[in-house]
Subunit: 394 residues, 2 copies
C-alpha cells in the first residue's frame, strides 16, 4: 500500500545492523544457558512443582540478596505484585494513585483492582519516568492537606499513593519523588517491573518505596515463564504480603481457616526453579546489555535526527529495552520507521499508547502531559536481547 520509503528508517536499520549484525532480531528474548534444566529436573523428580517447594524459598532469598531488599515475596506476575503492594500501602476504594501516563497498562490495572482511581502524571525526557518538579508544582496547585492526608481539591478524594515506574529499566528521579511523597503525605510504591538490575545512586530500584514490584515475564531481563515479586524492608509488610498472596490461610496442620479475603498469587515451585537458574546468570546478562548499549551508541552516533537513550544521571540502568528517540520534527516518520524496521526483520515497537487515552481510563484525572505526549510519538524500542552480544553476533 505505502510506497513511501524513509531515509531515516534506512539509516536506523543500518544503525541496528552495524550494532548487532544481520536480521532477524526480536525485541527481547530469554535465554537459558545455566542451571535451568538441572533445577527443572529436580522439581519433577521431587514432584514439588507447585506452591510448596524449596525453589520458592530459595528464589525469595536470592532476590533479597541481589536487590538488597530485606524481604522478597515471589508471586505469579508483576501485576499481582503491584496489586498486593498497593493494598499493603493502604490504597482503598475511591483513593487516587499517581502514576505515569507513559507506562504499561498493568500499572493502572493494579490500581483499579483496589477499586482506586489512576491519576496520570507527566514524564521527563531525562529519565522517561515521572517528572518530579512538575508533580510538585501540580500537587501544590491541586491538593490540600487535611488530617495528615493529601486530598485532591478538585475531586475530594484522597491521593493515597505515588507509583514511579522505571521505564525500560531506567530509574526515575527517586530522590525527588521520595521527597514529594514525604512532603505531601503520600505513600511511594515502586513499579520496578522493568528494572531488575537497575540502581539509583548505588541502591537497587524497588527498594526506595515502602514496597516495590518486580516482573519476570518472558520478555524481561530474567524470566520465570510468568512471575513477579514484592520487595520491602518492612518485616510486618513482608509477612502480610506472603499471607495475602497465599489465600490468607492461618497456619495449622490441617484446619482450613482464612482470616481475610486473600489471593491465589503464589509462584509455583517450577517457575521459581527457572528463576533461581536465571538469577545466577543475571550479572552476565546485565553486562551484555550494557555492551549492547555501547555498540548501539557507536552506531547511532553517526545517525542524525535520532538519539539513543542513555541512563539518567546518578543511575545505573539494566538497559532492559534499548530506546531511540526521534527528533521532535521527525515524529511523523515514526510509523514508517516501525513498518520498515519490522519489514527488515528487526523487531521494533513504539511507546505504549498513553494510558489516559485508553477507553477504560479516559475519565480518570490527569495533569497536562506535554512531555509524555511528545515521547509517545518519538520513542522506539529496538532489539535488546543480551544474546545479541553473548552469542557473538557481529
Amino acid at each position: 500500500m505505502k510506497t513511501n520509503t524513509s531515509t531515516l528508517a534506512q539509516d536506523i536499520i543500518e544503525g541496528i545492523r552495524a550494532a548487532i549484525g544481520p536480521a532477524p532480531a526480536v525485541l527481547h528474548e530469554p535465554s537459558f544457558n545455566g542451571n535451568e534444566w538441572l533445577y527443572l529436573k529436580e522439581c519433577l523428580d521431587s514432584t514439588y512443582v507447585s506452591s510448596v517447594g524449596k525453589y520458592v524459598d530459595r528464589f525469595e532469598i536470592d532476590l533479597a540478596n541481589f536487590t538488597g531488599a530485606k524481604f522478597a515475596i515471589s508471586v505469579i506476575n508483576g501485576t499481582a505484585a503491584l496489586h498486593i503492594a498497593l493494598k499493603l500501602a493502604g490504597v482503598q476504594a475511591n483513593d487516587e494513585v499517581l502514576i505515569p501516563a507513559l507506562t504499561f497498562v498493568a500499572t493502572a490495572n493494579a490500581v483499579t483492582y483496589c477499586d482506586a482511581i489512576p491519576h496520570f502524571i507527566d514524564s521527563e525526557e531525562s529519565t522517561l519516568g515521572i517528572d518530579g518538579k512538575k508533580l510538585r508544582d501540580y500537587l501544590n496547585s491541586i491538593s490540600e492537606q487535611r488530617s495528615g492526608q493529601c486530598f485532591n481539591k478538585n475531586t475530594g478524594r484522597v491521593i493515597r499513593a505515588l507509583v514511579p515506574m522505571h521505564t525500560f529499566g531506567h530509574p526515575s528521579d527517586l530522590e525527588g519523588l521520595m521527597s514529594i511523597a514525604q512532603d505531601f503525605n503520600i505513600v511511594m510504591v515502586e513499579d520496578a517491573a522493568e528494572s531488575l538490575g537497575s540502581y539509583y545512586k548505588g541502591k537497587h530500584t524497588g527498594t526506595f518505596g515502602l514496597l516495590g514490584a518486580l516482573s519476570f515475564n518472558g520478555n524481561k531481563t530474567i524470566t520465570t515463564g510468568g512471575g513477579g515479586a514484592i520487595l520491602t524492608n518492612d518485616e510486618n509488610l513482608a509477612r502480610r504480603a506472603k499471607h495475602l498472596t497465599t489465600t490468607a490461610k492461618l497456619p495449622h496442620p490441617w484446619e482450613f481457616r482464612h482470616d481475610e479475603v486473600g489471593y491465589n498469587y503464589r509462584m509455583p515451585n517450577i517457575n521459581a526453579a527457572l528463576g533461581c537458574a536465571q538469577l545466577e546468570q543475571l550479572p552476565k546478562k546485565l553486562a551484555a546489555k550494557r555492551e549492547l548499549f555501547s555498540r548501539y551508541k557507536q552506531s547511532f552516533s553517526k545517525i542524525s535526527k535520532v538519539a539513543l537513550f542513555e541512563e539518567p544521571t546518578n543511575s545505573k540502568s539494566n538497559y532492559w529495552l534499548q530506546t531511540i528517540l526521534l527528533d521532535e520534527n521527525q515524529s511523523d516518520q515514526r510509523d514508517l520507521i516501525l513498518e520498515e524496521t519490522n519489514a527488515a526483520n528487526y523487531m521494533t515497537r513504539p511507546s505504549w499508547v498513553l494510558l489516559n487515552e485508553l477507553t477504560p481510563f479516559k475519565d480518570c484525572p490527569n495533569m497536562d502531559l506535554p512531555t509524555a505526549q511528545s515521547l509517545a510519538t518519538r520513542l522506539i524500542n529496538i532489539p535488546s536481547s543480551p544474546e545479541l552480544v553473548l552469542s557473538g553476533s557481529q
Copy 2:
C-alpha cells in the same frame, strides 16, 4: 498432651493400611511419568517459556477435546478462572452469588473480586454439593422476580449467579441446579476446580453452566504447577475470556492499546507444557483413582461407625480426594482421628471450615446450613494419590 486413644481412629488407620500398604502416604501428590520432561525441554530449547508458545494453544485444544467443551481458555489458576467466568456471566458490584458454604475459600474469593457478595447455601449428603431441593424452597421463600431478574427480598440485591462446586470431584445435582437457574433467571457457572475427569450423565462437569472453571494446582488430579482453565460452549464468551485474561490488548503488530480493564491471567507456556504431558496420563490416573476407591471400599466395609463416600447416582467421579464420613454420633472423635492418622504418617484432613464462619464472610447472607454443618464435623479426606495404586503398593 492427649492420652486418649480412639478405637475408631485405630480402625481407620488399619482400613487405610489394608488398602494402600504401609505409611507414609500424603493426601495427594502429583506424578510425572510421561512426556513432562520432553515437553519442558522443548520449551527451554525453543526459549518459549512465557505467554506465547505452542503448548498453551495445544493445552487448550487438548482440554476442549477431553472435556467436550467447545472452548477452553488456560489461565494462571482456578481462582482466576472462576473470577473471569463470573465477570463474563455478568456478575457486577453488589450482586449476590449463590455458592455452597462447604467449599474451598477460592469460590467465595472469586465472588468478592467482582465486588459481589457470596450467599451461602446448604449441601446434600448424597453429593456433598449444593442441595437443589432446599435451594428451590429457599429461593421461593426469599426471592422475587422483577424485570426478568431474581431479587433477594431481604437485601434488595440481585441474585445473579449460582455456582455449584463439585466437591472432591463428585458432581453436584446438575439437572436440579440447572432447572433452578432457569426457573429463577440466575446464571449457572460451575466451579469444577476439583472435578477434571468427572461426569454427570456422561457429560463432563464444567460444561453444564454458561462457563466452568478448572484447576491444575499441585494437589489436583493433574497439575501444571499452578494453573486453571475456563470452559465454555459460547464462542463469544471464549473470545472475551481470552481477551480479558491477556490484558484486553487489541490485536496489532506493535501498538499497545487496551479497550477495557484486563487481567494478566495467561498461563505461561512452560506450565502448559507440563499440562499437555499430564493430560496424556489423565485416563491412567483416573483408572488408578477408581481402583483406589475399590480398595478402600473393601477395607472400610469391615469398619463400623464410618462410611466411605461413593460417587452419586448418575455420576462418574474422578475420586479426586477419597472421603470418609463418620457416623453422626462419632463426630466428637474427628480431631482425635485426624491427630492419630497424621501421627501414623497417613495424611488426612477435615472439611474446610464452612465459609460463612470465616471472618471475611461472616456478614454475608446464608440459608440454614444443617447438612453442611453436619458434614463439616464428620468428613475426613484420606490419602488419594493415583500413585498409591500405580506404583504397585500393597
